[in-house]
């Protein structure tokens, strides 16, 4: 096992970091957030130029053939700058569904547009009753001639207000909570009967999307929970890397503040009680970084049951660290980090949402423990 980046990977990391350092300062980010789309189309075009948007796809499909390691590098850098662009929706989720669920024809149709920055995707799965259960689906898919029509309402669809295509889970058979009979469909945005966009607390955009006999352009799977799990497991790896990037930055910010803020005539960083908290944060971040590497490795595993258990473990470890680091960043700063004008609070909010995306810590701890944990009895 080699934890060092190779030359190409170093170049990739440097080029993302340089671009974001130049273009993604705190004020710039606020500007993007306040704009109509809520993120920067211009930056998105720049990501395309850097080759980032083709990263998850093979060269035959029109991509750049990156693997789990390259996605980890991308996600960590995006986390360091808490970027608002739809990289997670389009590349990780959308890209995952295309790689694992689309035939070569469909990939050839969509990947060049994604890699070029013109095409955006969003994953529409959440329903009011479903909470973190991806198989809890009321939305229906009915055969109509040679195709399918979708009816139902999906909430909290990340970047649903700018997506060109939705990847929608809809029931082709079985009962509301059956694992069997959950189909996965590609639906062009024009087929949605309403798309109501809004901002989430972490600054990213989302939408409530309603489908009323919406015609799917493609069926990725008629019985697709295995496909969904596979894609979500890769997404969990990306979320872990993103969280590590965000934690590392907000921790650095906190330590810098402790060195410069004086109270009682000395820097607050000289107080041992605070030093220990900052050290605890570092312990949590180091453990999370390890877990993010593990996630990148395990997320491509072919044994679905083992892979699921591994990814539950990743969510538990990184989720707990995100909560600890987020909360302590605010506490160690004091009031200043409670203000919208200061960056730490924005990292805290992003980490809070990241922690519960595709299941919070409690959800995954229960799932892992129900699945027998990681170590088998002798």
């Amino acid at each position: 096992m080699d934890f060092d980046l190779n030359e190409e990977q170093s170049l990739l990391q440097d080029s993302i970091r340089r671009t974001l350092t130049d273009r993604y300062g705190f004020e710039a980010r606020r500007g993007f957030m306040a704009s109509e789309t809520g993120w920067s189309r211009e930056l998105w075009a720049q990501y395309a130029e850097l080759g980032l948007l083709g990263l998850p796809f093979s060269e035959e499909d029109g991509g750049f053939g990156g693997g789990a390691e390259e996605m980890l590098i991308l996600a960590e850098q995006m986390g360091r700058f808490i970027t608002l662009e739809p990289w997670f929706s389009t590349l990780v989720l959308g890209g995952g569904f295309l790689r694992h669920g689309a035939d070569a024809g469909l990939r050839g149709e969509l990947v060049p547009g994604i890699a070029g920055g013109e095409t955006l995707l969003a994953f529409a799965q959440q329903e009011r009753q479903s909470r973190y259960d991806l198989h809890d689906v009321q939305t229906t898919a009915k055969r109509d001639g040679s195709g399918w029509v979708i009816t139902g309402r999906k909430g909290m669809v990340l970047h649903g207000d700018t997506a060109d295509h939705f990847i929608v889970t809809a029931r082709t058979g079985g009962g509301q909570r059956d694992r069997q009979g959950v189909g996965v469909f590609l639906v062009p945005k024009g087929e949605a009967s309403s798309i109501r966009g809004f901002r989430q607390v972490d600054g990213s955009r989302a939408a409530e999307v309603a489908f009323e006999n919406a015609r799917a352009s493609h069926c990725l799977s008629e019985d697709g929970m295995d496909l969904v799990d596979r894609v979500v497991d890769e997404a969990i790896a990306a979320l872990a890397a993103e969280a590590v990037g965000a934690m590392d930055v907000v921790h650095g910010m906190t330590v810098d503040y402790m060195k410069t803020r004086t109270q009682f005539g000395r820097p607050i960083g000289s107080f041992q009680a605070l030093q220990h908290k900052a050290a605890d944060m570092l312990v949590a971040i180091e453990q999370s970084r390890s877990m993010a590497y593990f996630a990148a490795m395990a997320s491509r595993g072919e044994d679905a049951a083992e892979r699921r258990r591994d990814m539950h473990a990743v969510k538990v470890q990184v989720g707990r660290a995100s909560r600890l680091v987020g909360q302590l960043s605010i506490q160690l700063h004091g009031g200043i980090a409670m203000t919208m004008e200061y960056a730490a609070g924005h990292y805290f909010k992003r980490l809070t949402v990241n922690e519960a995306t595709f299941g919070d810590t409690d959800h995954h701890l229960r799932a892992l423990s129900d699945a027998g944990g990681l170590v088998q009895a002798a």
Binding site: Q126, R128, Q129, R131, Y132, D133, D136, G155, M156, R177, R196, F198, R199, Q200, V201, D202, G203, A206, A207, E208, T262, Q263, F264, G265, I268, F271, A273, L274, Q327, I330, Q331, G334, G335, A337, M338, T339, M340, E341, G345, H346, F348, K349, T352, V353, A356, T357, D360, D362, L365, R366
Partner: protein, 400 residues
Amino acid sequence: MELKFTEAEKAFRQEVRDFLAAELPEATRQHMIAGKSPTKEMVVEWQRKLNARGWAAPEWPVEHGGPGWTPAQKYIFREELQMWPAPSPLGFNINMCGPVVIEFGTEEQKKRFLPRMRNLDDWWCQGFSEPGAGSDLAGLKTKAVREGDHWVINGQKTWTTLAQHADWIFVLARTNPEAKKQEGISFFLVDMKTPGISVRPIITIEGGHEVNEVWFDDVKVPAENLVGEENKGWDCAKFLLGNERFGQARVGASRERIRRLKTIAKETLDNGRPLIEDPEFRRQVTEMEVELKALEMTVMRVIANETKRAGTGKPDPATSVLKIKGTEIQQGVSELLMKAAGPYAWVDGDPEAEGSNEWEVAPDWAFGLAGIYFNWRKQSIYGGSNEIQRNIMAKAFLGL
């Protein structure tokens, strides 16, 4: 020792509940059940109803309009209001500035300010913290210089809660730059309409406008608005902060939030079943309830001791316990509420604003719960951060 409420105390509890049922507008109650702070209008209307009933200033002596309650009655009253939920008597007026004026003020000041505080004719705010003086409050730099029959104040205060509503502000300012830092501070009452005062909003991370910066630029304050002796303002501040911590336990408020949490968890599905049926979630809620019960008894012990301690000037370790546990419980419950809502807690918008969920992209009950969790992180920072509370305990009570 007699560990039970008397019949008279039980009757008093019922009297408070009857009053709440008859007098508190239902709209105010529903607004607060949704987790929002009451608006200025709601607070003013309610404070005046309390004042008409003689209940506006539970802690004040009878001669200044207090109800003359026993410690147990004060406790019952506070808890019943929080549990209803109803707005508490405005803290800046009733628990902060009022007691300072009663303890340290002149007869003139008492006559002039106390009745208006009680009836909320004047809304007060607190001018203590500064950008460079947070945990180290005595390091404050705002200056007051005597010029004839006036003081002239210059400087900047921050984290001034609800200054946008305020008619008056009580201010700590340095009057003797030569003295040791606690010894050169004085306590002033300042009309917010005085020329030279400007208020700038601070927007907190959840998007709300609750706190402010207050700037003083050659603000002329009449000499008679000094409270207590010149350079003895730190005594007023210590006295006031002792009272502030006392109010931070908020046992009734936490009980009301847990009740709300359990209602929500009954209606929210997790794993296809009500969330409250998940043993892990229920365990977390139950842990909060146990912590809260212990805190409730601690509060009662502190209250019972209060009369005995009066005048001894000795600090009570329990006040720091109340601050630490009270804020930990409130933060913990706010986190469980956010967790109960799952992804639907994430819709952005000022949780305090009416109608922010106009798009109906989340259930009404879930709206703003992440924002409230974010906002409540302040609780372990303000009023003497929880680290400072531990320092106080280690130094003053453990002799470390």
